[in-house]
């Protein structure tokens, strides 16, 4: 057994209740999410379909003109499999409206703009559809900071944020998702031929194991090296986690008064609901 293996039926039970109850507190019984054709959004969509019923989930496909057509095809297959409604919003004009005049050629900047365009679409459709935006970021990418701040990491509720990539796959198999999303290499599909693992420079299998020991088990860096991880890899990942903390917290507020939001004005989000 892999030490990262979870009990998927238990995870499903918790996450379905989480979605239903946390949305319910705010009077929502519907969900909106971006469906990319990848594994993470497919799992989020499947959980949302179970939590709210397929009739209460809107899956939005938001290709850019350079997106791989296979992504949309895979997304449609997932939506059909789950029985959820789909909407296609091509973000090319929206993104190019800025990228062109601003002459943005840097790949990362372009990718970030696309991710933030998708966020704008989702939050707008969430009003039209009357549903909360459900997140699709997993624990591996959140720890590594492999996401766009206020872009793909923006959501009202994130069911996957405490699951490593390995565990997302395990849940995907348990939820019976189509082979097309289970088998392909994870990719942000921001440019041709991009794969997560190619860009990160290590595999998810390596990263998951390291992150699990570092974060969940609170092992020291020395212990990880002693466990057989390459020292440079351990240092690199540890640095990435710390450097990307800013993406995991709300913007920091400069304290001035005797009682300041988040510092010593402490309430749950569901306060009063």
């Amino acid at each position: 057994m892999d030490p990262l293996d979870v009990q998927p039926e238990l995870v499903e039970a918790i996450l379905v209740r989480f979605l239903r109850k946390e949305a319910g507190k705010f009077g929502f019984a519907r969900a909106v999410l971006g469906l990319s054709g990848g594994i993470d959004s497919a799992v989020s969509a499947a959980l949302a379909a179970r939590a709210f019923g397929p009739d209460h989930v809107l899956a939005v496909m938001m290709p850019y003109r350079t997106s791989n057509p296979a992504s949309e095809r895979d997304a449609r297959e997932v939506a059909e499999h789950l029985g959820v409604a789909t909407r296609k919003v091509d973000i090319s004009a929206m993104a190019d409206g800025y990228l062109g005049p601003a002459e943005v050629s840097d790949r990362m900047r372009r990718g970030n703009v696309m991710a933030r365009c998708r966020m704008i679409v989702l939050y707008d459709l969430s009003v039209e559809y009357g549903g909360l935006v459900i997140g699709t970021s997993n624990k591996t990418e959140a720890l590594l900071g492999y996401s766009t701040q206020f872009g793909d990491n923006a959501s009202a509720l994130n069911p996957l944020g405490d699951l490593y990539k390995h565990q997302v796959y395990q849940l995907a198999r348990h939820l019976g998702l189509p082979a097309s999303v289970l088998e392909k290499a994870p990719s942000a599909d921001l440019f041709e031929g991009q794969t997560d693992e190619g860009e990160l420079g290590f595999t998810y299998a390596q990263a998951d194991r390291l992150l699990y020991m570092l974060v969940d088990e609170r092992r020291s860096l020395d212990e990880l090296v002693a466990a057989g991880f390459e020292a440079e890899f351990v240092r690199r990942v540890a640095r990435r986690i710390a450097q990307n903390q800013y993406k995991r917290v709300p913007p920091i507020i400069a304290k001035l008064s005797m009682r300041s939001i988040n510092h010593d004005f402490r309430y749950l989000r569901s306060w009063g609901h």
Binding site: M1, P3, D5, V6, Q7, L10, V11, A13, I14, R17, F18, K21, E22, F265, R266, Y267, L268, R269, S270, W271, G272, H273
Partner: protein, 282 residues
Amino acid sequence: MTLTVHLAQLEPTLGNLDANLALHLAELERAREDGAELVLFPELSLTGYFLKDQTPEVALARDAAPLEALREASRGRTVGVGFVERGDDGRVYNAYALFEDGALLHVHRKVHLVTYGMFEESRDLAAGERFDVASSRLGRIGVLVCEDMWHAAGGWLYFLAGVDLLVVPSAGPARGVSASYQGLASVGAWRALLQSASTLYQCWSLYVNRAGVEDGITFGGGTCVVDPFGHEVAHVDGLDAGRVVHALDLGACERARLAAPLRRDEKPWLVQAALARLDETR
């Protein structure tokens, strides 16, 4: 003697005293139909758990209206309720009240506040200082609120006092979903603790956890009854609100103590002497 207990795995709304009182009264109505003589609610059942700055806002004196309503509803039975207490000393406690037949029988103030990991009780609450036995008409009751159970002293002191019923209300989060466990790690740990306590202290353990979700933290349920031999005899299945109603035999405590007279053979004076020596070396 048979005693029917009703353990309510409640799902309170955070900070909403009115809604939660209504939930308690509805459950008590239902428990009336079961003929339950002892009805127990979870830790902070009147207020919800992750209160943070809401803590003083929902604190109640012992004679506050919601507690008076529950006291009234306890006529003909014994009822345990979790609430935030505003003490006469002005401090605020994580408290558990036992009402019996229309009167306040006992209040236990949580001794071991939990302040690590996701918990920050010591920021908002004062700690209780005593493990006093409640002398109920049903028997001797010892209350351990959640973390009180994770320290040996409370249960052991109740054991010395000959407690028959260990009442353990909690707001225990669901965590630990690894495939190396069966079910939730948190629920498994609780079961092991309760079974050990009942085995060692030869009493019934009545564990009542809550259900629901507060800002992403799901409560684990696992509400159960453990007999004085350490066997779980009834439990609530799953994570949702529910209840366990069980007719337990109070005579089982005596049978367990006859089979193995653990309390007779306990040597508390050794502990007393050891603590005195520890004091001297300080």
